[in-house]
């Protein structure tokens, strides 16, 4: 067949280098809903799903390959064509004769652990489990399938290696540490990008305290065309989620950073000395005093500055949001807290981080030896002294400032843990007319407040305040239904379109 455009790719771009797993790559290990980023590093042990193994075996294989852990190594899995279809034993009719007992399974937990240590494959373990189950044969066919699926998830250590993407990274962080990304669900991120009309050749301003996830997603959509200005908290931007995207240098070159605490002085000309750190930490201290939940992220930033050890994935962080929210509402602590919701959240987070004990360890590994790609990394090289660092930073800030002062920003995205209203009001004037702005928030009230102030401020049309509702379905023969557990909320969005403010009519 014919194709007349250059980009249509009629050349079957077979396994070009970018599709092959290489040492140094940031990769995603995916097992069902469990997603985790690692850097490929030879002979380095990683911990995941209670197993310890190296990733060496994945090198040279294409992305999208599935591996099984065997004897601490990653072995490629040869897939059968029908992975979901199982040969099921003849099942019972219903469960009327099943009696509740604890001893339906003859294999003990120790037996299973021993098999795993002996390097027995997951498939064989499951066969053993079936053989040793006294109730399996009398289960219905569907119950059998469900049972096998459950056991597979539990005992089969199979991981698919994928290239990081906005979708996968958002899902990962939303599962593992939602409070760090303001509980931004993947459909909210999708809407931010679409309603913000993020596309190549745009200049996008992003206020992001979501670990740089939104910055990364925007850069993915720009594909190296256009500019991103990251308005960040603190002296230097911290965006581990963006780092996981593994962007090449040519894409990173489009990224500018501007500190939030210098927004009010964008218009003033002088290149100030870096006194803002003083302001910043007093602000931080006030934060800490009033909301203990902020401590972790604050101390995290400071740690980065002083110790240069970005071990940001500590378990305590996951409950930060919960603590913030709880701060005031403790009037009757003993008997009644109605804290179920928040507690559930925290509980879930804790379980997650406990289940994967290698979490912080691995992230550390991953960060430490990353090739010199991000400006954050560059600063860490020991040879560069602090003053050079500061000057370099200042120069970059001035570059960002020049872009901002063109007042031709194509899209403003605010997705941060701060109250959005003052931020939006401060940055709006740098956005060109007839452009979208998008404000994301975990709570509804600040979004309503922002809407009210923008309406008063004028200069925009086509406002919309919305909340999305995302539902997944299990689609299986005779078992099709919405998934039993769903997310209660993915955040709130305000979008609007700028117009020329003082334009003379006609």
């Amino acid at each position: 067949m014919a194709s007349d455009t250059s980009a249509a790719g009629s050349i079957p771009d077979n396994l070009s280098t970018q599709h092959i797993i290489k040492e140094g790559d940031q990769v995603i290990l995916k097992k069902g809903k469990n997603i985790k980023v690692f850097q490929i590093k030879k002979r380095r042990q990683v911990w995941l799903e209670k197993a310890k193994f190296t990733l060496d075996g994945t090198i040279g294989h294409p992305y999208g390959t599935t591996f099984e852990v065997k004897n601490g190594k990653m072995i490629k899995v040869e897939k059968s064509i029908l992975p979901e279809k199982e040969a099921l034993a003849e099942g019972g009719k219903d469960n009327r004769d099943l009696l509740d007992q604890d001893s339906n399974q003859k294999l003990t937990r120790d037996d299973i652990e021993k098999m795993k240590k002996d390097g027995i494959k997951g498939k064989e373990i499951i066969d053993q489990l079936i053989e040793n189950s006294s109730t399996f044969q009398s289960k219905t066919v569907f119950a059998q399938a469900k049972w096998i699926k459950k056991k597979k998830i539990k005992h089969l250590l199979e991981f698919t290696i994928l290239k990081p993407s906005a979708r996968l990274l958002c899902e990962m962080h939303h599962t593992k540490n939602p409070s760090r990304i303001c509980f931004m669900r993947v459909d909210s991120l999708a809407q931010i990008l679409s309603r913000g009309n993020v596309r190549a050749h745009s200049t996008v301003a992003v206020v992001d305290t979501c670990m740089g996830l939104v910055v990364g997603a925007v850069m993915e959509r720009l594909g190296g065309f256009g500019k991103v200005i990251h308005f960040h908290q603190g002296i230097t931007p911290v965006r581990p989620a963006m780092d996981s995207f593994d962007f090449p240098a040519e894409i990173l070159n489009n990224l500018y950073s501007y500190p939030l605490d210098r927004v009010n002085s964008i218009e003033s000309d002088q290149t100030k000395p870096d006194i803002s750190s003083g302001t910043k930490s007093s602000n931080g201290a006030a934060c800490v005093e009033k909301s203990p939940g902020e401590i972790s992220s604050q101390s995290f930033t400071e740690k980065l500055e002083d110790v240069s050890t970005p071990s940001q994935e500590t378990g305590e962080d996951t409950s930060a949001q919960g603590d913030t929210a709880k701060s005031v509402d403790m009037s009757t602590p003993s008997q009644e807290t109605t804290s179920n919701v928040e507690n559930t959240e925290d509980g879930a987070d804790d379980i997650n981080s406990q289940e994967i004990p290698g979490c912080s360890e691995n992230m550390e590994i991953e960060e430490e030896d990353k090739p010199v790609k991000t400006d954050m990394e560059q600063r860490k090289r020991k040879g560069i002294d602090r003053e050079t660092n500061r000057q370099l930073r200042e120069q970059k800030i001035q570059e960002a400032r020049d872009v901002i002062l063109e007042k031709n920003i194509d899209c403003l995205i605010v997705a941060c843990k701060f109250h959005p209203t003052p931020i939006v009001l401060a940055l709006l004037k740098y956005v060109a007319p007839s452009r979208p702005i998008v404000v994301f928030g975990q709570y509804k009230e600040p979004i309503l407040d922002c809407y009210e102030y923008l309406r008063k401020d004028g200069g925009m049309v086509n406002y919309r305040v919305s909340e999305a509702w995302l539902r997944e379905y299990q689609v299986m023969e005779m078992r099709t239904h919405p998934v039993i557990s769903m997310s209660g909320g993915g955040g709130y969005l305000l979008t609007a379109t700028t117009v020329a403010k003082s334009d003379t009519p006609k």
């Binding site: 219903d94 605490d261 927004v263 602000n283 804290s339 919701v341 701060f418 109250h419 102030y453």
Partner: protein
């Protein structure tokens, strides 16, 4: 497998298995804590110990027994004679003793099967037009979660005929209804209605089906319904059952066949302290600023630099006193803004909530 087709009506059972049952029942006093509101806790009452949100226990009162809570031991004897709703001091904290309602029972009953929860129960009760005097047919009984609510609504003049194909469960349910003082409103039968039908004719105002193959019971359900018509509900977790059920119902002449789902989202009411970012000192604004509303921005940021130190020592009251003077002049209706924080009340949505319980299919049988 053999299916027991006998009916075991409570007043007349005499098979050996029920001797055991009777023995258990006789060892406990029959109470009315479910049937009507009462003032005082009596021996034999099933009561709800409320320790905290979603931290409750259903306990049947028996002198000489002790119940262990996270606040320490609670002797039944100490509670018997107390008013319902009383606070009970335990060694390490306190709890409340509540009278059970069907809702509380649903939250605390021993699970023998998947159960219907409060939201679905409320929809079923409403959509089946239940009220005192209604005669209802239910299958299966399961853990008796819905049954208790049905009985609550149709008593004192209605009746529930409930069917369960699992013998243990039927017996256990019967025992519970007896213990809860509800025996006169309910008949429990151990029976596979899909195979053997309900064997009821023209007595029911409403039929509720929670069966893996509900269509097998629908024709018999139609027979059980009054000649003046009635309503039917079928609860199914998956859409395939719903598809087939709707087809059967229409074929049987049921009308107004509708399927619905109801999910409840709980809000955790919290005060949130959202930090207001420090955007630094204002420089000399170089150009015309067309925005009419920079008041707010300036207000916020100027306060920041001057008041940061005060804030550290200030307690809530002095802060909010000062706040009243410095508040932006606009008529603000959401929360309270201080120099560095936006305080507001919000209903936090749960990270995870039940995304599906089941589909509820309702249908009307009109008189023919």
């Amino acid at each position: 497998m053999v299916c027991y087709q006998n009916y075991f009506y409570l007043p007349s059972y005499n098979s050996s298995i029920f001797h055991t049952c009777s023995f258990i029942l006789n060892s406990k006093a029959i109470n009315m804590s479910f049937a009507r509101y009462k003032k005082k806790i009596e021996e034999g009452d099933t009561i709800i110990l409320y320790l905290g949100y979603e931290n409750m226990h259903a306990v049947t009162m028996k002198r000489g027994q002790t119940f262990q809570t996270k606040y320490g031991a609670m002797r039944h004897a100490d509670v018997i004679g107390m008013d319902y709703g009383s606070k009970v001091q335990c060694p390490k904290g306190y709890l409340y003793v509540l009278q059970p309602t069907p809702d509380l029972w649903t939250q605390n009953l021993p699970h023998r099967t998947q159960i219907l929860y409060a939201t679905d129960i409320s929809i079923v009760t409403m959509q089946l037009d239940l009220k005192p005097g209604s005669v209802v047919v239910e299958s299966g009984t399961g853990s008796g979660s819905l049954s208790h609510s049905i009985i609550r609504t149709i008593a004192p003049t209605g009746h529930l005929h409930t069917f369960e194909f699992h013998q243990q469960r039927a017996e256990k349910a019967r025992e519970e209804f007896w213990e809860h003082g509800l025996k006169e409103y309910v008949t429990v039968a151990h029976r596979d209605v899909c195979q053997d039908g309900f064997d009821l004719e023209n007595i029911a105002d409403a039929v509720f089906l929670d069966l893996p193959r509900p269509w097998e019971a629908m024709s018999s359900a139609k027979t059980a319904m009054k000649v003046t018509g009635g309503r039917l509900c079928s609860f199914s977790p998956c859409i395939e059952q719903v598809q087939r059920s709707c087809e059967y119902l229409r074929d049987l002449g049921f009308e107004e066949v509708t399927t619905m789902e109801c999910l409840l989202r709980n809000f955790d009411v919290r005060t949130v302290n959202l930090p207001i970012v420090d955007m630094g000192p204002t420089g000399h604004p170089s150009k015309e600023d067309t925005s009419q509303n920079t008041d707010l921005k300036q207000e916020v940021t100027e306060q920041t630099t001057s008041q940061v130190k005060k804030l550290k020592s200030g307690n809530r009251d002095s802060t909010s006193q000062r706040e009243l003077k410095n508040v932006p002049p606009c008529f603000d209706l959401i929360g309270k803004k201080e120099s560095e924080s936006f305080f507001f009340k919000t209903g936090i949505t749960p990270t995870n909530m039940p995304g599906h319980t089941g589909f509820l299919t309702f249908a009307t049988l009109y008189p023919s």
